[in-house]
């Protein structure tokens, strides 16, 4: 038992020193430009069918939102793009997005990535980059 706990700790410690990987590793894992377009379209489909959150988007220019989402995910994942939209805080202020709304969107993202067979490690990497945005998006 003690050995197993020590092994788990060792695993946690050594896991932090990751081997060198290309700067655009995540971008490639997400399928590059076509992968990100699919991801955005998948997300839009999920949002459209989600009665809890769809109302937030009733006045949104969807074509613009789609383009900015792809740009942002591309830049975040180390791809060859520059995000040209507003900051997360600016673009989400006034919508009173709740914790449940945020959870729903995360759930949709996981579902779509899983459908597109994005490996779990890449899914988690993207989620790790998005999670800190919570405070800029929710209850503003």
């Amino acid at each position: 038992m003690g050995i197993l706990i020590r092994a788990l700790l060792l695993l946690v410690l050594t896991g932090c020193s990751s081997s060198p990987e290309p700067k655009d590793w995540l971008y490639q894992q997400l399928g590059g430009a076509p992968g990100l377009e699919q991801l955005a379209d998948g997300l839009l489909r999920e949002i459209e069918q989600d009665r809890q959150i769809v109302h937030h988007f009733k006045d949104t220019d969807i074509a613009r939102f789609r383009k900015l989402l792809i740009e942002q995910f591309c830049e975040l994942s180390g791809g060859p793009c520059k995000y040209s939209g507003a900051t997360m805080q600016e673009s989400h202020t006034g919508f009173q997005i709740t914790e449940a709304d945020f959870d729903n969107l995360v759930g949709h993202l996981i579902k779509v990535m899983t459908e597109q067979q994005v490996p779990v490690a890449a899914q988690n990497r993207l989620l790790a980059k998005l999670a800190p945005m919570y405070k800029d998006v929710v209850y503003r």
Binding site: I5, G15, A100, N104, N124, R125, A131
Partner: protein, 281 residues
């Protein structure tokens, strides 16, 4: 046994209605249900709130578990109600079968938990909750005979839980640390306080979980215990477990436990098995 099989079949059937009453929280972020009733690992209460109800949502969670060690069997069942991913009320019932001595001890546990701060997945700060457990030993004769002072006791704990996304090999890791003030002897199964010491004892409880996939996790727990009874040594508890989150309605946890010495019976090791069903509104 037949009704047990029927219950399982009914649970599985209900749980196949995946999308209905699922709640918004991400899969596995409701944790499992501990043997004391609220959200946690198997033996440690976490800062996590039970079920998948997020802000403004309710959830109801039912759980049954069995711990089988050399000379004892502990059957636990509980139901809990959560709201807003902040408040959790749990009603638990534990039956400790004294397999070698004969007889049984029953304990009732009413738990309340309140999330003070943080978001398990989203904030740099861990999610922090405070909880109380009002425990009552319903068969006090044996505990009284071996030196317990009271049949009732109140535990108070502060728990911190956090998920680190992409922490190890691209996998997510949950760590939980809990500090508990308790007078419980073997968590209250043998009563509360002794004639020589009726003060609170402070103990630390820890869980580490590696989420291999969104549905599968492995983990380890350590639960520090006081050692107050004169007639028998009380040891810290440990476990290793595998958890499977079938969907937002059904999870199963199987583990190996090491409970040390209990009421003079040494080296109590064995299995842990838990089944949980949860619904959100």
């Amino acid at each position: 046994m037949q009704t047990f099989a029927k219950n399982i079949a009914a649970l599985l059937l209900l749980s196949s209605l995946d999308a209905y009453g699922a709640g918004s929280k991400v899969l596995a972020t409701g944790g499992a249900t501990s043997i004391e009733g609220g959200a946690g690992g198997g033996i440690v209460p976490w800062a996590v709130i039970n079920g998948y109800g997020s802000s403004g949502q309710w959830s109801v969670t039912g759980a049954v578990s069995q711990v089988g060690v050399d000379d004892f069997t502990l059957n636990s069942r509980s139901i809990s109600l959560s709201y807003d991913n902040k408040y959790e009320l749990s009603l638990g019932r534990q039956q400790l079968q004294l397999d070698s001595m004969g007889g049984e001890l029953n304990q009732q546990i009413i738990g309340l938990k309140y999330k003070i701060a943080g978001e398990l997945l989203y904030s740099a700060m861990p999610q922090i909750s405070i909880g109380v457990q009002q425990k009552k030993q319903l068969d006090f004769a044996v505990p009284a005979a071996v030196g317990a002072r009271d049949e009732q006791g109140t535990d108070i704990y502060l728990a911190a839980s956090k998920v680190w996304l992409d922490a190890v090999w691209g996998r997510n890791v949950l760590l939980n640390a809990t500090v508990r003030a308790t007078k419980g002897l073997q968590t209250g199964l043998l009563g509360f306080g002794t004639s020589s010491d009726n003060g609170y004892q402070y103990v630390g409880e820890f869980s580490a979980v590696l989420l291999l996939t969104p549905q599968w996790a492995i983990g380890a727990e350590f639960k520090q215990k006081p050692d107050e009874l004169a007639f028998a040594r009380e040891d810290h508890w440990r476990d290793l477990f595998v958890a499977w989150f079938a969907n937002k309605h059904l999870s199963v946890v199987a583990g190996h436990v090491d409970l040390g010495s209990i009421a003079t019976f040494r080296n109590q090791t064995g299995y842990y098995l838990a089944l949980e069903s949860t619904w959100a509104f």
